[in-house]
Amino acid sequence: MRRGILGSIIPILILCVWETLSRTGTLSFDAFSRPTDIASALLSSLMDGSLLVATWQTFESALLGLAIATVVGVLTGALLGLMPTAERITSPTIEALRPIPAVAFMPLSLMMFGFGVGMEASIVAYACVWPILIVTIGAVRAIERRLLEVAEALELSFPARLWKIILPAAFARINVGLRIAAAIAIVVAVTVEIVLNPRGLGYHLILAQQSLKVGLMYAQLFWLCVIGYLLNAALRNVGGRSTRMLGSV
């Protein structure tokens, strides 16, 4: 309760001061806008659906990229986690590729896929695969030896072993990596849209800035914060529930 009250002091204060200063003309610089204008821009873009469409576009690319990264990352990570020798052999190559920022591949991706979902999803995939890979390797390596021996004793095929024993056992930690990757996915998607790709929230942001619709721009920023916050909260909940379901091993 106390946190709620104290925590809202600063935002409310900022909003009031902002509104007052822009009305009295002190903050007349175009770049500032005012809270009331921002609120109305937010409302109208929500009601005419443009904000939601843009949100969906961003999510679409982010989800696709994340899905690709998850499949590639988890499978490769599981294999490397189970075979430490293989991991040590491939490690220098991985360490060499990892520092290259995913966004640097934007022009390359553009050349290969042209504008659209594919280009964006591929960048997201590249960015997300590394944390997922690393976390999965660590998670698989940390699996209790006994479990692996049980799998062998049961003479399960490799895919069965993977699906029934290895992945569930490593799930809790992989999940943490997935949450990190999910956050990265959204950030990367928006970034690609700001720089290059003409779709999604990032694109609308840059559009608003270029057409000097400052109120709309801030409204979209606010919306991004809300989306990010809700996403984080949702991910934390999902993580908690599924770990409980599978039991922590």
Partner: protein
């Protein structure tokens, strides 16, 4: 005869195989060389750019931008983090606001920064600092707010002032957390440097890559990527080194 670690040899072989595979694929021209130049051509470009000096200009520009933005974020992040972390009231006042702003992609402030500063270095540095400050800030808050209670008691008994406490006890105690945050911040700083360079055609590696794509010079593009990878790798190693030296005391011990 010196015994060479077979694993390291195999790792080298693996990396070499990848590059070789790249070369072969490029030679086979399965994918148009416009997208897929051979490593040989990419290296060629690198060498010629090293000769005419243009590489150093780009490298210097990008490194400088990244370093300055990161250091700005580091200083502000630690100071603000210290202030917030050591005061319960500050934490209660600011935590909700920070939690709300934190998930915002740093690149989203690019349009705002452009409005205020245009397509300039200031814009770039502002965006870099804004994005890079979060890991350091949060790590700092965490570090300063979790000083061992016994150490606080010791400081009280010894009669340290608040400033002495922060300097002699809280800051060194928070340093492991802060260093971790600084490492992540550096990675973010690099990313945002590249993004802002691409966005605003400021001279640097990001811009080189962007421009190479525009003029369909794929070898230049790949050369730029390789350079970026090197820069990222070196930067990371540097900060790991600093971390190891500063936190020497952690690695010792039974």
């Amino acid at each position: 005869m010196r015994f060479v670690d077979p694993i390291k040899l195999a790792a080298l072989a693996f990396a070499a195989a990848i590059i070789l595979g790249w070369q072969v694929l490029a030679d086979l021209r399965l994918i148009s060389p416009i997208f897929f130049p051979s490593p040989a051509r990419a290296i060629d470009v690198l060498i010629s750019r090293m000769a005419d000096g243009s590489i150093w200009v780009s490298l210097a520009a990008t490194s400088a931008r990244m370093a300055v933005g990161w250091m700005l974020a580091a200083v502000v992040g630690v100071i603000v983090g210290a202030a917030i972390g050591s005061s319960r009231l500050a934490r209660d006042l600011l935590d909700p606001t920070l939690e709300f702003i934190r998930p915002l992609p740093a690149s989203a402030v690019i349009p705002v920064a452009i409005l205020f500063f245009g397509l300039t270095n200031t814009m770039s540095l502002t965006v870099i600092a804004f994005g890079a400050i979060w890991p350091v800030l949060l790590a700092s808050v965490h570090g300063f707010s979790s000083v061992q209670l016994e150490l606080q008691d010791v400081a009280d008994v010894l009669g340290f002032s608040k400033r002495e406490f922060l300097q002699k006890v809280a800051f060194p105690s928070a340093l492991p957390d802060i260093m971790g945050g600084l490492r992540v911040s550096l990675a973010i700083a690099l990313i945002l440097t590249v993004v802002t360079e691409m966005q605003s055609s400021l001279p640097g590696l990001g811009w080189d890559i962007f421009y190479a794509q525009r003029s369909y010079r794929s070898a230049d593009l790949y050369a730029g990527l390789i350079l970026l990878g090197l820069l990222g790798f070196v930067a990371n190693q540097l900060i790991l080194l600093i971390e190891r030296r500063t936190l020497r005391w952690r690695n010792l011990g039974t």
